[in-house]
């Protein structure tokens, strides 16, 4: 394991990208910060810039208008980074699979940009905060 991968696993900082979500996943992500779940005890922190982030939390189906912006954010993120599609829409477009303004699931779009991207899925509509914490923890112990 390279030192970069080793250091990625410590105190992961996440950046939240909404690419067309209904707010539920976003609210649940913010919920993780509040006293009941308090993810900062695991060293996970929401940051305001992708350049500071180790992981991207992508919520929502990727709309055509959000597509170039998602790719821009991914390019700005320091590598190696983990991409977490959060929720059914981000994982496989969910109920919006036949929408005319939908570019596709997050993993397909990120893989076209970077075939070696590390992607870890957190399914659910919306996933509970416990599921998000567990998903992040499992992904970190797997890499």
């Amino acid at each position: 394991m390279s030192w970069k991968m080793w250091s990625l696993k410590k105190s992961i900082w996440v950046f939240h990208v909404n690419t067309g979500a209904c707010n539920n996943c976003d609210i649940e992500i913010v919920n993780c910060l509040t006293p009941k779940y308090d993810i900062e005890r695991f060293g996970i922190k929401l940051v305001g810039s992708p350049r500071h982030a180790d992981a991207l939390l992508v919520t929502g189906v990727v709309t055509l208008q959000a597509l170039p912006r998602l790719l821009e954010v991914y390019r700005q993120t320091a590598k190696p980074c983990v991409v977490f599609p959060i929720g059914a829409c981000a994982c496989d477009t969910g109920i919006f699979y036949n929408g005319y303004h939908v570019a596709g699931p997050v993993d397909k779009i990120i893989r076209e940009e970077d075939p070696n991207a590390i992607i870890a899925y957190v399914p659910g509509c919306p996933p509970k905060p416990e599921a998000m914490i567990s998903g992040v923890m499992k992904a970190l112990s797997a890499i």
Binding site: G20, N31, T34, S49, R69, F96
Partner: protein, 405 residues
Amino acid sequence: MNKAMNKPVLAVGPFHPLQEEMEYFQLTVDGEIVTDIDVRISYNHRGIEKISETLQFDQVPYLVSRVCGICSASHPLAYINAVEEIAGVTAPERAQYIRVIINELERIHSHLLWVGLGGHFIGYDTVFMWAWKYREPVLDLLEAITGNRNNYGNVCVGGCREDIPDEMIPKILKELDTIEKKTEMLTKAVLDDPVLHARLKGVGILTKEAAVKYAVTGPTARGSGIAIDVRHDDPYAAYGDLDWKVISQPEGDVFAKAVVRLLEIFESIKMIREALKKLPKGPIAVEVKQIPPGEGCGHAEAPRGETFHYVRSDGGNRPIRHKIRAPSYVNVPSFKASCIGQNISDVTLTLASVDPCYSCTERVAVVDSHHNIINDYEALLQMSRDKTARLKKEIGAPELKMEES
């Protein structure tokens, strides 16, 4: 080159997930004063109305509950009202009461969410943490009743999907007592705080005339002295049987909107208590075999205002036209009246005060073209917090250590 290009422009967005749209605000500023505002939408456009035409009538509620995650009880209810109008069916009384209970629980959690975020924007993270902590029991109640913390999917054409078992009622009442006590404490703490008075009063004023002109709905209108509420003006579900009052405040500033939302929480608690007491016995759904050709309108009072659904049927099993108008769609243009002439440090709060969504301020960049200074959201938040600190000093409030952002 037009003149506006030479002026400093403050870009808010584009990642701003509202009901159906992500938004991008372009504020033209003169020094620290906002002189113009421009809104661009459709970043979050998922084509829900078109997808709805490919789904069957009883599948659409699951789709429209995903229009907005926070209004995920009001949107399906408005749609169901429209479809039931076409079909000419009335849901059983028990279902009507259950719909009220779910909708009011949703309103409580949404308003607490807003209060928390409002606190966060002005640097009162304690309010944020408190409000979101007291919101958790509401989500637990909703999970116990419907099986999910959000996206309840509890309504279907002709009634409700999940019943409230009788043995759960005492538990709900007990939880409501706790929520009421905590909210009362929070309300007193927020409304009696001199710093919050200084920070929120007179900020982002939307006058009654402007509110009428922009046709705003919900707490935004009620904060400007217009006492409109679909639950009161055109009662649906069981709202007509319940005893409650419409809260409104005449001032039109951010403080008035906060007061309206906080006091509405108590009205909602009162309504749920009464609905649980009156909860009639009987079935929770009637079978609807066919939707005849025709058209129907349904509306419901979402936490942010009136949500309106129009459905047309040709007698088949799918709607052939489904039109949705979400409340923020009419509330957002009112920024033109409330933001112009404001200080930049007040804009985050004014934009947040109609509760479009917290994420609007997630990505803010101030581009000062004269000096080529680029400030980001953090800097803007810091400006807002500095103003609070300055006001505190003027009032002589005890120095509180603010969290480093």
